[in-house]
């Protein structure tokens, strides 16, 4: 027969400390034998990789020199390649005495970024709009010139980081208005307009970007009347804005779809026309909602600029690749590695900055809702 009362259970040791530094350590790194194993293995990996990076990148690295011969140590990076060529990488073939114009462009770009990252109280919105419209115009005036006594420099002389940033600027600033129009068209109630925009968007999204650029560069001359000539750089710019506008359109469509239909109905009920409804009620909300995705698209546009090197442009990566094939610097693979690591760090700086910005916007809008 079962006893009416169960015997007392044995006293148990107190639970493991789960708060404080020790508790945090235990929970984060040693919560089970498997986790302990993983932690130890990763510590070993950190030790190995860290040691390699310091040895390769700093201790064994070759810092100065003017040819592949100055980098004899293949266990170290060859930063000499960068220190000798950095001007070429940053300014391309822009005339040396006019470097200041490129610097103005970089400065304006930095100011535009500051205008969008920081808040300036009541003038923030006006400032941002001014920069958004003013930056491309000013960039064109300073870089290409031909006005205000500035010597005309053909875009074909652009190269290096300058060309990368110019293409990214054209891609971003050109595709935003185009994309907005396409998104409005696609979500329109007018069936024909909606269908045309949908096909346009899906077509560009379905083909490789490099194929689009090759198509524009190779075929545009066939489709314009004889005697007119469009600069090859401009053709690439048009292609870049064209296919990126399709991606932007999808970003804005996402923003438009996030607006509850009550907003549309209320605007129609108080008798606003389509454009007034869009301009005053829908778009201000939709654009704000699509900004994080928009920044992510800007990141991919920035990364995609590299493909222009396949049609022979010397963008940042292109000019590095060209310099690597220069007989003076042709050497063992560690020169290539160093150059690519350097390029990767530069690209990473831009894209990582943008991704952090987009994350911040996302968190902010999550808090606001």
């Amino acid at each position: 027969m079962e006893p009416a009362l169960r015997p007392f259970i044995e006293p148990q040791s107190p639970p493991l400390q789960s708060s404080g530094f020790i508790g945090w350590l235990r929970a984060s790194f040693f919560s089970s034998w498997f986790n302990t194993l993983v932690t130890l293995a990763l510590l070993w990996v950190i030790y190995q990789v860290g040691g390699f990076v310091i040895n390769w990148g700093i201790i064994n690295a070759n810092w100065v020199g003017d040819s592949a011969k100055s980098c004899p140590n293949i266990d170290g990076a060859c930063w000499a390649f960068i220190t000798e060529r950095w001007r070429l990488f940053v300014y391309g073939l822009y005339p040396k005495e006019l470097y200041w114009r490129v610097n103005v462009f970089y400065l304006l770009g930095a100011l535009t970024i500051i205008a969008f990252v920081f808040s300036f109280g009541p003038i923030t919105r006006k400032l941002r709009l001014t920069m958004f419209i003013g930056f491309p115009v000013a960039a064109y005036i300073f870089l290409v010139g031909g006005v205000f006594d500035l010597k005309h420099i053909s875009p074909e002389n652009f190269g290096g980081l300058l060309l990368t940033l110019v293409i990214a600027t054209v891609g971003i600033f050109g595709s935003i208005p185009l994309g907005l129009i396409l998104a409005l068209g696609r979500t329109s109630d007018l069936k024909v307009i909606s269908k045309v925009c949908t096909y346009f968007i899906e077509f560009w999204r379905g083909v490789p970007h490099i194929a689009v650029i090759v198509m524009f560069v190779a075929l545009l001359p066939i489709f314009i009347p004889d005697g007119n000539k469009i600069d090859i750089v401009v053709r690439a710019f048009i292609a870049f804005a064209a296919f990126n506008s399709a991606y932007m359109a999808e970003v804005f469509r996402g923003g438009l779809q996030s607006i509850p239909s009550g907003q549309f109905e209320a605007s129609k009920a108080i008798g606003l026309s389509y454009w007034k409804m869009m301009g005053y009620i829908i778009l201000p909300q939709a654009i704000r909602n699509s900004v994080p995705a928009l920044v992510n698209t800007c990141i991919s546009i920035f990364k995609e600029t590299t493909i222009v090197l396949l049609i022979g442009f010397s963008d940042f990566l292109g000019i590095i690749q060209l310099s690597l094939e220069d007989p003076k610097w042709l050497g063992p693979p560690h020169i290539f590695s160093s150059a690519y690591v350097f390029a990767a760090i530069i690209y990473f700086t831009f894209t990582y900055g943008m991704s952090k910005y987009s994350l911040r916007l996302e968190n902010r809008s999550n808090v606001a809702q």
């Binding site: 919560s31 007018l190 307009i193 194929a211 066939i222 004889d226 990141i299 493909i307 990473f348």
Partner: protein
């Protein structure tokens, strides 16, 4: 007149005018483009038409799935390179998904160090242009590999050297087709059992160990078939002969570099997609599952994953599309893919840019639409039934 103005304000006439206006503008623009193009082509003396595709191609393709020689036609060249694009995309998509799964797991782990590793991996590979990564693997990393004689020996079966990756190749003898059929049949059977078990569980609540039974079927039936046919499939192990490897299949460095680059780059994106999908499943779901006493395995397989899948599939489709499109960058490292053939040798030899561009665009567009359609079918199958 008043009447007309009224209907303009009402919008029906206005919307028709806008729409027909757009149609007319597009038709006129196309007509104008066609007109200028044909006059330009006449002036330049370029013949249009796809007849040139039957001509002899005259160039070699270093990786061909089916017989191809320099005497083959352009059509053959296009088919061979197109299959190369598909093969590369398929293998890379498979590996990237596999990798992405583990990255997502590591980023969701309890272990802070492992989580940080996942974060760093994703940030590093997502934020650097794919082309730069491909260059790195092809021109820097793979060039560090030793020469043929000093090949890195992996279990005496596969050999890694600067000229590529030599792996064993399957040899099919008589009766091999029976084994392949057995594999197909066993998969169909396992799938059927899985469906039946699922339906029965929905109806009666009685569980059936369909995964274990299915695995058993998939392993046992092909094995029995192979045994009956006296093991008709064997592996040919590469051996270093006097100057070169004999036997096996050599994966070119171009292919290897593309595969590594595409896998690592897309793996980072897919990892992020899977993580976001799993995190989006409401916390209450996990708590409820815990409280009714499901095991961790059951919580994941029955509660979390089915719900996460619905959010994972659309962006994953996009990622597969991106991956397939980005294989066109293979031209940069010289891997003979579809785009390499169209933009390189064929364009240079024939000068038929217009036709070649059309083939390029519609070739890739076809693949994109196919992937989108397949994923849409899957998406519909896993959708929450609306009441």
């Amino acid at each position: 007149m008043n009447n007309l103005l009224g209907s303009w304000r009402r919008g029906s006439v206005r919307s028709l005018t806008y729409q027909w206006g757009l149609v007319v503008v597009i038709v006129l623009a196309l007509f104008w483009l066609f007109d200028t193009a044909s006059s330009n082509l006449d002036r330049l003396g370029i013949q249009t038409g796809f007849g040139f595709l039957d001509d002899e191609a005259g160039f070699q393709i270093s990786q061909a799935l089916f017989p191809y020689t320099a005497q083959s036609t352009y059509i053959d060249a296009l088919l061979v390179t197109f299959s190369n694009t598909i093969i590369l995309s398929l293998i890379a998509a498979f590996l990237a998904t596999f990798l992405g799964f583990f990255i997502a797991l590591s980023r969701l782990s309890d272990n802070l160090l492992l989580r940080k590793f996942g974060d760093i991996y994703v940030e590093m590979f997502r934020n650097v242009p794919l082309l730069l990564q491909l260059f790195f693997w092809y021109f820097a990393a793979l060039k560090l590999l030793p020469g043929k004689r000093e090949s890195i020996n992996l279990f005496d079966a596969a050999f890694l050297n600067i000229e590529g990756f030599v792996v064993p190749s399957p040899v099919f003898e008589a009766g091999a087709s029976a084994v392949i059929w057995a594999i197909v049949i066993s998969f169909v059977l396992a799938f059927g059992i899985w469906r039946w078990a699922k339906n029965r569980q929905v109806r009666t609540g009685e569980p059936f160990p369909s995964v274990i039974v299915g695995l058993g079927i998939v392993i046992v039936i092909p094995f029995v078939a192979a045994w009956i046919q006296d093991f008709p499939v064997s592996w040919e192990i590469p051996k270093f002969g006097r100057f070169n490897f004999e036997g096996g299949v050599a994966l070119q460095p171009e292919f290897t570099a593309m595969l590594i680059g595409l896998t690592l780059y897309n793996g980072a994106f897919i990892g992020e997609i899977i993580r976001a999908g799993i995190l989006s499943v409401h916390k209450g779901q996990r708590e409820a599952a815990n409280s009714i006493g499901l095991t961790q395995m059951q919580i994941y397989s029955q509660i979390i994953v089915p719900q996460a899948m619905r959010l994972i599939i659309p962006p994953l489709t996009n990622q597969y599309l991106n991956l397939t499109k980005s294989t066109a960058l293979a031209a940069a490292v010289g891997y003979p893919d579809f785009f390499w053939a169209l933009s390189g040798s064929i364009a240079a030899q024939t000068g038929q840019v217009l036709e070649l561009q059309a083939i390029t665009l519609f070739g890739y567009l076809g693949v994109s639409l196919f992937i989108a359609a397949v994923m849409a079918v899957y998406n519909r199958a896993t959708r929450i039934p609306e009441r």
